[in-house]
């Protein structure tokens, strides 16, 4: 599944239009706890989260996050979007809740990351 397909499935808005969405997404993980995200991401992973602060971008400096979906309509501040652009990290925003977003992607065949 490509990131561009995920945007359609979640009826989402792309916050970093200059970043390429034509990338393959092998798996996903959803959490609002930074330690959980760090503990569970061992391969290139799409992250679904409600966290919108700068640390969510710093996480991507540490582990292999290939894109971030902000759920339930949350939007990060401009400086966070700027940090993502510097890193070529796609940011996507959906009005769907974390549960519904995860369900939609899982139904479409996107597997959970290995923990």
């Amino acid at each position: 599944m490509k990131l561009s397909d995920i945007v359609k499935i979640l009826d989402a808005e792309v916050l970093t239009p200059e970043v390429n969405l034509d990338i393959e997404v092998p798996c996903a993980f959803a959490s609002d706890l930074i330690s959980d995200i760090l503990m569970c991401t061992k391969e290139p992973t799409l992250l679904l989260t409600g966290l919108t602060n700068q640390q969510v971008i710093r996480l991507a400096d540490m582990i292999d996050i290939i894109g971030i979906i902000f759920v339930r309509g949350k939007k990060p501040p401009a400086e966070v979007i700027e940090m993502a652009k510097e890193r070529n990290l796609p940011l996507i925003c959906t009005k769907n809740t974390m549960y519904r977003s995860s369900g939609l992607l899982y139904n479409a065949g996107l597997r959970s990351c290995r923990i």
Binding site: I34, S35, D36, N53, Q55, D61
Partner: protein
Amino acid sequence: MLDYAVAESDMAEFWYIRPGYEHAVQKHFKNQQEPEVSLESLIREKDFNEAGKGSAEVKNLLKRLGVNPDILRRIAVAAYEAEINVAAHSLGGAMLSNIYPDRIHMVFLDNGPGIADIEQAMMPGFSTADEMVRELGFGAGLGLPNIKKNTDALHIVSEAGDSTMLEFLVFFNNNGQ
């Protein structure tokens, strides 16, 4: 470093060595070898805009040095958790990374106020994080367990009301040799 002479009654210490790494860890502390590269950065209290930068710098350097990606991830996770701990729970401090050909030794030293009960702090789910820290996605009580899980040796020395020193070692190959 901490002054062991003045810290007798309230000092607490925690040691963890991954089974099979006892000899390599002992050798590290005994030999006092000069590191190939040292990096140092400051960690400011509650500065969650900058926290994590020091760990990213270390990770990028190790990546350029060709450290295995899985080991690199373990070091990055442990370093980041330790850096965030200093920012979230202390009055600020510093991190020092000593890089050797086969390992990294990282030291996090803060300005207090110390960990009241290290054994309790090591329990998954135990946290003293305040509301502001939790809102940012921290404070799950998994920081120290996550550091332990990803390192080959972890040593914490703390004194209630005083500073905490956390140091860890990660070897670049999987057998510590």
